[in-house]
Structure formats: structure tokens, C-alpha cells
Symmetry: C2
Subunit: 191 residues, 2 copies
């Protein structure tokens, strides 16, 4: 999505440790008109997939998931980060490793909001090594629902998570894929 | 908002400790079409207020804030819960007491996203004792921005936080105000 690449070049900041700051429009301040444009593009990409539910993860995934859901007229379910790994039988749960924080955390989704009749589209703001996305894919599998595909606003292609999912046959639609970045330049993959 | 009262009666569950569970549409699963209707009502209420920015708090406030912002075509800024009270000078910060968890937490907003030229509408999903809202009001004051008012989906009127704000002259628009609730019935205030 050309407009997203231009927005990243204009407003993004690359920090040490492969961090891309896009707090001005995606994960602290939300440029809602722009998020709606991104959501419209995701809705277009999955228009024929008969998606019944969007699954995302708190916090930063909620806005972009909403942006797509408004056009698709379907509910969003967001996975919650759980304080402990003591979860009860009323939830699907999985453990996700965070490279950023160097820790594991448990995410949960109430069983009442996902089941085997659902066709699920997973949406998140970033796709880097794919750990969060793999956690959500695991939750979809536990529910018996069909995974239609995944979509992220920004994929850090050089971290490989997206391509690993594609090699497994999972549909991954990223609105912008960064091939390389440093404090002087950002290079996008042609998609 | 009559439709919200009906939705609460149909889908809400009252649990011990004055907890109202509305996870089916507001804070775990998001009924996006319905959230857009609530957002439209908030946009209508503040149509003449020249709001430049919506301020909310992660996580549950983001969806309803987005719902209003889509109609108002303005950005959302969400305050982030901070792991420690060691914050740097680049953020506005305040401490909020959580009755639910019995702890204090620090919330922060980057200074670059709120300033004295802004007219701010604060939105959240719930208003109970008003602690979170007071924290956001403090952040608006620190920024020098003008507080236009606050709006919440569901106010627990019997906990008094909303009326305390109204007594201070702050505009509080709640889409549904619960006067009393137990496991057999929920009574709404006429608004």
C-alpha cells in the first residue's frame, strides 16, 4: 500500500534494536482516517473469504482490526495478555515469547467467542518474527475454527516471521513490507 | 441510548463485586457495527464542540474512542499503562488507583501528541468511581489543552464518579447510566 510506505517514510523513526516508531499514527496516536483506509484495503483483500470474525491481540492490534471490521461488518475478538499462566477451562490460551521484553506471556481468548463454525482473519499492527501471530494461530487451531489468513499493517520482512508463515501455506497480507532499515533509510519490498 | 440499555439487559452479566460483564460486545469481543452506532451518538453529542483530539486509555477504551473518531475525523491518542513510575520528561504522566486490582499504576501520554492548541474529548468504555477519567483529566491539564468533555459507554451511576465530575462543571455524557444492579435486575437512570 503505497500510501502506507509514504507515511512510514514521512513519520516513522528507526531506533537501535530494529525498532520502528510509528506512534504518530498507529500505536500511540491513531490517525483514524488513515487507519480506516488501511482497513478498507484489508477488507478488499479478503472480500471473497467469507470471514466471520477478526482476531487480534491487545493493545496495538485493536485499532487496525477495528478499521477492517468496520468495512467487513463482522466482530473483532482481541486476545488478552494474562497476568499468570494459571488460566481456567473457559479460555483458549497460549504462551508467546516477547523478544522486545525478553519474557514469555500468556494470552487468552474466551471460548464463547471463537468456535469451529468461524472463519477467522488474524490482524495485527506489526509482523516481525511472528511470535504473536503464531500464538493467535494456535488459538484459532484450539477453537477448531478455519484460519482464512493473516494481515498486518507493517511487516519487518528482514526478521523472517512473515515468510516462515507463507512457507507453511498461510496467507499473509502485509500492507507494507520492510526489507531493510537503518537510521538513514528504509527499503520496501515490492508487493 | 436505548439500544445500549437493551444490549446490556440482553448480553450483560452482573457478577459479585459490582462487576458488569459485557465481553460479548464491548471489551473482549467487539460488536463493531454496534460500537460504530455508539460512536455516532458521541459524535452527535459533541458535534458543536470543535474537538481536535480524542483521548482514551488502553485497552478497553480504544474501540469506543475509534468508533467516535471515525465519524468526527479526528485522531485518537491512547494513554499507556507504564510499567514503573520512572518516566522521562518526554511524557505527561499521572498515577491512577485501580479498585479492581487494589493497586496504583502510572499512565503516560507522549508530549508530542497533546498540546495547548488541542480541544480534547475524553472517551472510555466504563465510568465507575472515575479514577481513570480523573487521571486522563490530569493529563489534559498538564498539556494545557482545553477539556471539552468526557463520554463513556456505560456509567455505573451508583458508584458516584460521574456525578462528582458533573459537580465540578465537567461535561459528562454517558450513553447508559446504571442506577442499580444485581444478579436479577439492572435499573437505568433516565437521561
Amino acid at each position: 500500500m503505497k500510501a502506507l510506505e509514504e507515511k512510514i517514510l514521512k513519520e516513522g523513526t528507526v531506533l537501535p534494536g530494529n525498532i520502528l516508531k510509528v506512534g504518530s499514527f498507529l500505536n500511540h496516536q491513531l490517525d483514524v482516517d488513515f487507519i480506516m483506509e488501511m482497513g478498507k484495503e484489508i477488507a478488499r483483500l479478503f472480500a471473497d473469504s467469507k470471514v466471520t470474525k477478526i482476531l487480534t491481540i491487545e493493545t496495538s492490534g485493536i485499532a487496525i482490526a477495528m478499521g477492517a471490521a468496520v468495512w467487513m461488518h463482522i466482530p473483532v475478538v482481541f486476545a488478552k495478555k494474562h497476568k499468570s499462566n494459571n488460566v481456567n477451562g473457559e479460555v483458549y490460551s497460549t504462551v508467546v515469547h516477547s523478544y522486545t521484553h525478553g519474557t514469555d506471556y500468556t494470552v487468552v481468548v474466551s471460548r464463547e467467542f471463537l468456535n469451529s463454525s468461524d472463519k477467522v482473519l488474524i490482524i495485527d499492527d506489526f509482523l516481525a518474527n511472528g511470535k504473536a501471530l503464531n500464538g493467535l494461530i494456535d488459538i484459532v487451531a484450539q477453537s477448531g475454527a478455519e484460519l482464512v489468513g493473516t494481515s498486518c499493517a507493517i511487516e519487518k520482512g528482514f526478521q523472517g516471521g512473515g515468510d516462515k508463515l507463507r512457507e507453511k501455506g498461510i496467507r499473509v497480507e502485509s500492507l507494507a513490507v520492510i526489507d531493510s532499515m537503518d537510521d538513514t533509510s528504509i527499503t520496501f519490498r515490492k508487493i
